[in-house]
Amino acid sequence: MLTKFETKSARVKGLSFHPKRPWILASLHNGVIQLWDYRMCTLIDKFDEHDGPVRGIDFHKQQPLFVSGGDDYKIKVWNYKLRRCLFTLLGHLDYIRTTFFHHDYPWILSASDDQTIRIWNWQSRTCVCVLTGHNHYVMCAQFHPSEDLVVSASLDQTVRVWDISGLRKKNLSPGAVENDVRGISGVDLFGASDAVVKHVLEGHDRGVNWAAFHPTMPLIVSGADDRQVKIWRMNESKAWELDTCRGHYNNVSCAVFHPRQELILSNSEDKSIRVWDMSKRTGVQTFRRDHDRFWVLGAHPNLNLFAAGHDSGMLVFKLERERPAYAVYGNMLYYVKDRFLRQLDFNSSKDTAVMQLRSGSKFPVFSMSYNPAENAVLLCTRATNLENSTYDLYSIPKESDSQNPDAPEGKRSSGLTAVWVARNRFAVLDRMHSLLIKNLKNEIVKKVQVPSCEEIFYAGTGSLLLRDADGVTLFDVQQKRSLATVKIAKVKYVVWSADTSHVALLAKHGESLLHHDSIMICNRKLESLCNIHENIRVKSGAWDESGVFIYTTSNHIKYALTSGDHGIIRTLDLPIYVTRVRGNSVYCLDRECRPRVLTIDPTEYRFKLALVNRKYEEVLHMVRNAKLVGQSIIAYLQKKGYPEVALHFVKDEKTRFSLALECGNIEVALEAAKALDERSCWERLGEAALLQGHHQVVEMCYQRTKNFDKLTFLYLITGNLAKLRKMMKIAEIRKDMSGHYQGALYLGDVSERVRILKNCGQKSLAYLTAATHGMDEEAEALKESFDLEKETIPEVDPKAQLLQPPPPINPLDTNWPLLTVSKGFFEGAIAAKGKAGQMAADLDMEAPGGEGWGEDAELQLDEGEGGVGPSVGRLSGWDDRSVGRSLDMPSGGGGGAEDGFFVPPTKGMSPTQTWCNNSQLPVDHVLAGSFETATRLLHDQVGVVNFGPYKALFMQTLSRGRTCYLGLPSLPCLRGHPQRNWKDAGAKQGLPAVGLRLSDLIARLQQCYQLTTSGRFEEGVERFRAILLSVPLLVVDNKQEIAEAQQLITICREYIVGLTMETERKKLPKDTLDQQKRLCEMAAYFTHCNLQPVHMVLVLRTALNLFFKLRNFKTAASFARRLLELGPKPEVAQQTRKILAACEKTLTDAHQLNYDPHNPFDLCAASYVPLYRGRPVEKCPLSGACYCPTYKGQVCRVTQATEIGKDVIGLRVSPLQFR
């Protein structure tokens, strides 16, 4: 039993769930009716009008109404929206025990100690029927959920079923009139009653306190003072007792059917709630309180929720957890549903049952731990008594029929929780508070005492989180020691981020009003990064890719950044359990264990995350492109110190102005100030601008606010004498004497000062000023005006000096150097972004340079291939060497161990030897480092006699044969042997992974073609040759590929012959006619090499030009026609047609050449003469190039490695060729 919510109050006598909202009504013994939100755990309202205990309480299913009945004999109907009692129904003559609305009709059913049951119409507010028959208090009366029946329970020891179809017909049929002749008693003139007793159920030995119908079946449950719960069955004609549930040892107060399961719940004055299995009639759960007698039970009509009222309050509870057991690994979700382990592929949404669970536990699976390495699961089951909890270890069957999956035998042991800690180890917390480390056979391999540990959680490989009363500890299982601890009570769930760098601890505190849940996010060292409180249940959570924790509460999906920022993403109707978050999708399981995907808008938290991580470009992008507006985000930005970002959102000028000032953006502030044009704005702007040295704006502000003093001073310090003088004039006009004087002082204008002093009657000062500063005339004039009798002429201080402000060197027109800091991060980031863009552009411009570098690299390659190494012979392969070296060490140490003798083990068969034994393909021998056999194979198969060109290929191939891994420190590394048949190689059948693919070689052709196109023939030939020589080092799987490999050789040969001949031709002299004829012949032969059309076009153009020049028009015309057939570019075609036309005028050849286009021939690759068909010819065994017989035995010009005319086995590149 899981308590969701508890209240403390006076005795609770009545309870009613709201059908839709998370509300419950509790009627109390002290006359108060409470309306609670059990999800938020808050008291919504209180209704206190009854005098004395309120026992009957019921929500209306559709209207915002509820009904109550009390010991004041009153039935009250309330509207909770209006928060008041609408009316009171009077009529009962004693306590009212229960009051219920009819699910459909506008009726209220009440049961009373006055021994009657009454039916009221709450629309007409009258009693429509009185059911009499019980001869003691009626404790309970309820409508049938679908039929015209009422069940009642009374202290007269009977349960009665009443038929009220008569009442319905009378009152609710069209034209029915209430309160007609029959009157309130419900008995008409003919003695027919509206409500008649249908069945009287006798069986209880004491008064019956409660009776209720089953929601769907013809069953009744009752609870009585004889401490029994009875189940009754009825049909049209009779009703009988089915069974009795015995167990309560005091009066049973209430009994109800579980709305969805075959269960009965009852509670009693024996302070217990009991759950009974309906079919077995046995108690399955008991829940006791220490001091409180239970009085009433309520069942939620739709959810798995119940409520029970007792002496000091009530509780809302459910019978079992609805949280599915699940585990996520990679793209897979594993979860338990209906005794099946199911697997959901997040990517393909494929949901399959992979295994059937062993039955035998009445409790659902509590939690799951999945082991991807072994494809095994641990399923933990919690019993009511924790000590009886068990876990099952299952190996998931590899292949399974989803329709009817296997039910593999698991291993069951007792233990509270079992969690994987390594691929072949798991930890079990047992009831003795020991931590057992077990292997895959479920055997204990290690035992650690953890006395105060209450629960364990996964914490990455080799670690666990241990929970005790006041904290969570990261525990290293191998070292058996604590690594870190964090103080947080009652952690229920633990969610690690994918890289286990962060963990979210979900804790649950209390069930009462003081309840709150909390989320603490810690790093790997369990240092708390933030703590979030929720006054509502936190259900589940998962980390998204960007490191944001997404969690669900009972009614929201929310996010939390590790910085502690959190907020709501969306609302939920019903609780869900998040399994994974990817992008906009939240994958979850609902309470029915259905996998669901919900879409969320991640903008807000992504935005905040970008801010926290100072990814300003991202922020800016989102500001510009996302619909991120609203006061909240502005307030957030301001609060978090990003006013400059907020500035981008704000339209309101006032806010804009404040924000601009806050981030020191004077331009924006000025704009806003102009729009607002308020004195206070200008003042604030002036101050801010002055701080930044933006004196032009300062000037404008002072002007706007008419702050003459400050303006004057500003002009002084900026050396703007003209404006300073103007200010003095303005002061004079404004009759601001002191301002005027100050201006004169600033300007060093002595005569003006004298004038001012004189004008304001400061004669002595005027005189002194004039006298001191050598204005003698003026001084004299003033002296004259003194009345010597009354006034004394002041003494002139001989040491007096003229106070003259230093003259400005240059008036300051521009601003002072501005403080750049005040620009703020954000603008800074934008500026930086601009720069980065330029840098990127620079890089692009440098790209051609990169190509040049690439050429260098290629050159290196060529050198490497042709490279010559030191030539010192050595017989042993490298296997021997490395072994020899490592043997040195143990031989000394091992000697002492074995009775003074040490017999070194003989060398085993190395994988490389195996490779040689298993294959006749040259490359396998090269990879194995067996050059001797490799060269022999190449010699025998394709006639290689000159291995020079193969050296680079051999060394390269060899270097990819074996990998490296480090053993003990300071020792030479161990070598791995990648094998192409690694899955089924075993110890003897191994063959090396080749690492050279036909497709790669074919791809390399493109490069060669490009070199050809760009006329770099020698380089091209090198590359073609490298490809050609690599072909014998291939391994292919099928005949198709064997053919392709041979075709590849042919292509290379044709190009090598053609390009080499062309290179040769270009070197030849062309002075004499014979020499020119030879050049033409070679050009003509080139057109018979099998080339790509794009190259053939070029070859034909050359031949065409040469033959045209030689006036061999006839042959030239044939080249022109061949050229046109290839569909060259328009301009080429046009030119060709012109030449062709010219040729066709005189279709003759001026000179006789050794070239007959109509007589098929092979070209001698050494002498470049045609070998017409039928003439003797020798061929290269690898390339197939043709030669005059005189060249037999020489090295092939094409391969530069093979012997012309050599008798060989032939190319071998596949094991197929040996069968």
């Binding site: 525990f475 290629e858 190494g869 017989l875 161990a897 083990p905 060269t935 053993g967 003990l968 990648p978």
Partner: protein, 251 residues
């Protein structure tokens, strides 16, 4: 908290860092830890100096360990002097046996180690080595061992190259690339990483220039590395062998 602290190895971090090849961390840990007994102190120092030796900082060891130091440390000093190990551990036997291609004997030796303490770091590592040599399905097990250790502690060049060797043995070249890239990021001139990259780049079908670049790097930084010595030997062998062949006729 709850666990018994009595059987905790106070030098665990020191040793562990040493075993997984994280020598600097070993040194750091050793300097941090405060041993409870003089014996532990000596033990700590042994690991400290061996880590220095692994880093080739022999001078530190030779200077620090005086003739008056404990006999254990004298041994370490000798180790530094001769750069040869007196380590008689079974792990070394296993490594030697593997080098001898005696997988069968290595397995027996491993069984002994596992009987002693299957979960010990060194046992786990040795298991991985043997698994790589056995091949087939065992490769994945070996991979998990390396993966687990890097999860548990931190990824090191030793662990990453181990993982790479497993991947490559399973022909999972793309995955190996990621691991080796990580290793390369940690130390761009680590010889074993470079050797593995020489293997890998070819199997990935990369241009020969790429492979040659790693080879050049290796030649630059580790001229005396066994791989290069072997390489040179094989070049010489090649040159000698091909002298046996010649064309029948010359032009």
């Amino acid at each position: 908290m709850a666990a018994q602290q009595t059987d905790v190895d106070e030098l665990f971090d020191v040793k562990n860092a040493y075993y997984i090849g994280s020598y600097q961390q070993c040194i750091n840990e050793a300097q941090k830890v405060k041993p409870s007994t003089p014996e532990k102190e000596v033990e700590r120092d042994m690991f400290l100096y061996r880590a220095y030796i692994a880093q080739r900082k022999y001078a530190v060891v030779l200077d620090d360990i005086k003739p008056s130091s404990s006999p254990e440390l004298q041994a370490v000093r000798m180790f530094a002097e001769y750069r040869s190990s007196d380590n008689k551990s079974m792990a070394m036997s296993i490594q030697v046996l593997l080098n001898l291609d005696r997988v069968d004997m290595a397995r027996k030796e491993l069984k002994k180690m596992q009987d002693q303490d299957e979960d010990a770091t060194l046992t786990q590592l040795a298991t991985a080595w043997v698994n790589i040599a056995v091949g087939g399905e065992k490769l994945q097990d070996a991979y998990y061992i390396f993966q687990e250790m890097s999860d548990k502690y931190s990824s090191t060049l030793l662990l990453l190259n181990g993982q790479a060797a497993c991947y490559m043995a399973q022909n999972r070249w793309e995955e190996a690339e990621g691991v080796l890239q990580e290793a390369l990021d940690k130390d761009s001139s680590h010889p074993e990483t470079l050797i593995n990259l020489i293997v890998l780049t070819q199997h990935l079908g990369k241009a020969p220039e790429v492979t040659n670049r790693y080879l050049s790097q290796l030649k630059d930084a580790h001229r005396t590395h066994p791989f290069l010595k072997d390489y040179l030997t094989k070049e010489n062998e090649f040159d000698r062998l091909v002298m046996q062949y010649a064309p029948t006729a010359t032009a």
